[in-house]
């Protein structure tokens, strides 16, 4: 438990260090991360190429660099999930016919996604990003699916509000 906590704190500290590299992820105008980049960032292919060189210095450099990139991706993905959550909450407040069970399911999905991002962050420290391709790909797909569903929900809410007026 203590080890997990230490790793989580270390991951948080490193992700703070990468804040300056994030660019303007919350600002408008920045492009979304193309889906294929998630599988590339977490892919073991480059790592295999680097390892074949048998150079500890280059291996160290690669691990450090790819870890930073992976943490930027996790931070960006978590931020995107929070943004979708905020948008959903705003749309739900405007909606007149909310279904409590559906809302609870959506909340659980958001919470699960944030937990996956947390697990990826810890996994990056424990095992390195090269072993987390499956989990990162799953998170990416889920975020895309939720974003799409959320967009449809917002549109439907707006249409209903217009119809009532």
């Amino acid at each position: 438990m203590l080890l997990l906590l230490a790793v989580a704190v270390r991951g948080w500290l490193v992700s703070r260090e990468t804040t300056g590299l994030r660019g303007s992820e919350d600002a408008s105008g920045q492009e979304a991360c193309p889906a294929e980049f998630a599988s590339y960032i977490f892919s073991p292919a480059d790592w295999r190429y680097v390892r074949a060189m048998k150079s500890p210095d280059i291996e160290r450099l690669f691990r450090k660099e790819r870890r930073t990139v992976a943490l930027v991706w996790v931070r960006q993905t978590s931020s995107a999930i929070r943004q979708i959550m905020r948008e959903h909450a705003a749309a739900a407040r405007r909606s007149s016919n909310l279904n409590a069970v559906t809302e609870l399911k959506i909340f659980v999905q958001f919470a699960a996604l944030l937990a996956i991002c947390g697990a990826i962050r810890v996994g990056i420290d424990l095992a390195g990003p090269m072993r987390l391709g499956g989990l990162a790909g799953y998170a990416q797909k889920l975020v895309q699916r939720i974003a799409k569903a959320e967009h449809a929900f917002v549109l439907a809410t707006q249409e209903r509000a217009r119809a009532v007026e």
Partner: protein, 144 residues
């Protein structure tokens, strides 16, 4: 339609003469004004309009940048090697300057996704280290 024509013109006349995507990205970034972020290409602007030429340059820059950012490390090392060998300076000097000043940071298109931008910078750092090791190895062999 006119943008498509300008874009194809750019690919045909200018970019096809440059070897390698890395060199193309560096070239396209160099057509961008540091202060305004606007792209400019004399010949293209004369054949089309200045704003159309600027947009074609921006589109090409973004497209090639994303391609190079996603290219596997061995391929990036080859791209870097082609670029370094095509310059008139000694490879060791170019590699040294690139490691110290990281001029490739200026090659990022505007509003690039932060993770993609960081991946590009990271991969180039690693590719530079790999190429330097290869150059040093080759020099060591030739002096032995």
């Amino acid at each position: 339609m006119i943008l498509q024509a300008a874009y194809e013109d750019l690919l045909r006349r200018s970019l096809s003469k440059i070897t390698g995507d890395l060199a193309r990205v560096i070239y396209l970034a160099s057509t961008r004004d540091y202060n305004t972020g606007t792209y400019h290409h004399e010949g293209l602007a004369a054949r089309y309009r200045a704003d159309v030429a600027a947009k074609a340059l921006e589109v090409a820059h973004r497209e090639i940048f994303y391609r190079i950012a996603a290219c596997p490390l061995p391929e990036l090392v080859r791209e870097l090697e082609v670029y370094v060998n095509s310059s008139r300076q000694a490879p060791q000097d170019v590699l040294h300057i690139w490691q110290k000043l990281e001029p490739y940071r200026l090659a990022l298109p505007m509003n690039t996704n932060a993770a993609v931008a960081r991946l590009f910078v990271s991969n180039l750092r690693v590719a530079l280290a790999i190429l330097q090791r290869q150059v040093q190895g080759a020099e060591g062999q030739s002096t032995a």
